[in-house]
């Protein structure tokens, strides 16, 4: 098959369709760079969506739990090896993704006789200010985009993901409080998972709030916080809905 280019292209296209089909019911995740730190949020079953990677690094993702776990372990291994061999300050998300995770995911995706990774990820690196924060959007095929500060969404459908990011950008900025950011993210999560519009026709805030509160009765909101103000090396902490007053 690999000697015939058109069949290979078709096979890769089929894999892309297969991955999107598998991910279509995935629960989206969010990250926002704020004045006091970076907030990551997902709705899952507890320790399933949002994870600490290293002192100033965290990850949020959707997809197959086993694949998320493989990527998480690979990132943690690489970060700690780098920190021990050189120094914690040398652990950089750009190198971790550009030279490690990205190429590995691309290779796995294009090896058409083995199973691809079923994941969509956001990775975050805390800087000294929101403008120096680094947010990466890493996709199942190894492609990635980065941005300094701002907001990122990872959802199973690219079009809806763009809508959600625009919606959040119109409601949040760096000076927003973590509780407010988390509330807007949960409203966006509800709109995405219920196929509600996110533009001018979006449901009003009361409906969005009532929607996510109803949906979350038997689910866990996973909230990770990379604190810019903490005096300790490990800046990641887990926040609860109660601690944010949600």
């Amino acid at each position: 098959m690999t000697e015939e280019p058109y069949r290979w292209l078709e096979a890769v296209a089929n894999r892309r369709d297969y991955v999107r089909e598998q991910l279509k019911d995935g629960s989206p995740v969010f990250a926002a760079s704020l004045d006091d730190g970076i907030l990551l949020l997902g709705v899952g079953s507890g320790q399933s969506k949002v994870f600490e990677l290293f002192d100033r690094h965290a990850m949020a993702g959707l997809g197959h739990p086993a694949d998320i776990e493989k990527i998480r372990q690979a990132a943690i291994d690489a970060a700690h090896l780098e920190a021990f061999t050189r120094a914690p300050e040398d652990v950089s998300l750009r190198r971790l993704i550009g030279f490690g995770l990205g190429p590995q995911l691309k290779t796995a995706f294009e090896q058409i006789f083995s199973a691809p990774f079923l994941i969509e990820l956001i990775l975050a690196e805390l800087g000294d200010s929101p403008e120096k924060d680094l947010l990466f959007r890493l996709r199942f095929d190894g492609t990635f985009q980065s941005r300094h500060g701002g907001i990122l969404v990872a959802a199973s459908q690219p079009g809806r993901e763009t809508e959600a990011a625009a919606f959040l950008h119109s409601h949040l900025n760096a000076s927003s409080q973590p509780a407010e950011a988390a509330a807007r993210m949960l409203e966006t999560w509800w709109c995405l998972t219920h196929a509600k519009p996110l533009g001018a026709e979006a449901p009003d805030q009361a409906e969005r709030t009532a929607g996510w509160k109803t949906d979350l009765q038997d689910r866990v909101v996973e909230i990770g916080w990379l604190s810019r103000r903490a005096a300790k090396l490990a800046r990641f902490e887990t926040l609860s809905r109660e601690s944010l007053g949600l």
Binding site: H80, F84, K232
Partner: protein
């Protein structure tokens, strides 16, 4: 001052009138003498475990520096105080920091206190060849949070250079100035008022600084505390909620209170 333990290789050779090294190479006049970090201690106070260390490192009768941090935060619930050869001790601390955090992040749960205590014992045992050669001895103290009780309780452990681990009930000290400090702590615990375990943080810090001042009067390898030159100790408090560093400004204020 070069530390040694009974029966180490150098002592054995010396007992048989054998000189393994040229005197101008190891320990001799003008030769190489390993750097040592001295005098650390920890005691239970009302707010948790206060761990303290002077900031002096020596090599023989030379003062190498008065700016060493010998009390190190290994993770959010563990402290290590080093006495002995810093080259080895700092590397042990780095191994512990990386491995404890790696375990917590990868396994999504913290390493248990007994496992942390044994990890340090294993590092000391792995250092046995250097210890027996008489040039790499480390005699650390470790404080960690015991989460098997409610509320969590900070515990103190001390080690011999071969890696045997012991839990201290109220206090432990290590390094060349530890004799003076253990004597005062023992006296205060038996006959003093308030006892160290009854001291609130300000009182405990003042007591710890005075202990270091006392030790420095009897041991030249122990750096003292001198507010007039802004020379203070490294002090960290391990509480059920985590580690708190006592700053130089707080030490200055509380010492003079």
């Amino acid at each position: 001052m070069t530390q040694s333990i009974a029966g180490d290789f150098l002592s054995l050779l010396a007992g048989n009138s054998l000189a393994p090294f040229r005197p101008d190479v190891v320990g001799g006049a003008g030769g190489f003498t390993p750097t040592q970090a001295t005098t650390v201690f920890a005691f239970q106070c009302a707010d948790g475990v206060l761990m303290a260390g002077d900031r002096r490192a020596t090599a023989g009768n030379q003062i190498v520096t008065d700016r060493v941090d010998k009390v190190l935060e290994i993770d959010a619930t563990s402290l290590l105080a080093i006495a002995g050869v810093p080259a080895t001790a700092f590397e042990m601390a780095r191994v512990m920091q990386t491995s404890f955090e790696y375990y917590r992040r990868s396994q999504l749960q913290s390493l248990s206190l007994p496992a942390k205590v044994r990890a340090l014992a294993r590092l000391l045992r792995d250092n046995l060849p250097m210890t027996l050669q008489g040039i790499g001895i480390v005699a650390p103290l470790f404080a960690g949070l015991d989460t098997s009780t409610v509320p969590a309780k900070p515990r103190i452990y001390f080690y011999d250079p071969l890696g045997a681990q012991f839990q201290a009930v109220g206090y432990a000290a290590s390094g060349s100035g530890s004799g003076s400090i253990r004597s005062v702590l023992s006296f205060q615990e038996r006959h003093g008022s308030p006892k160290p375990t009854e001291m609130k943080i300000k009182e405990a810090v003042q007591f710890a600084l005075r202990l270091l001042i006392t030790a420095s009067e009897f041991d030249s390898a122990t750096g003292g505390v001198d507010p007039t030159t802004d020379s203070f100790a490294t002090l960290k408090l391990l509480k059920p909620e985590g580690v708190v560093t006592i700053t130089d400004a707080e030490q200055k204020e509380w010492l003079q209170a």
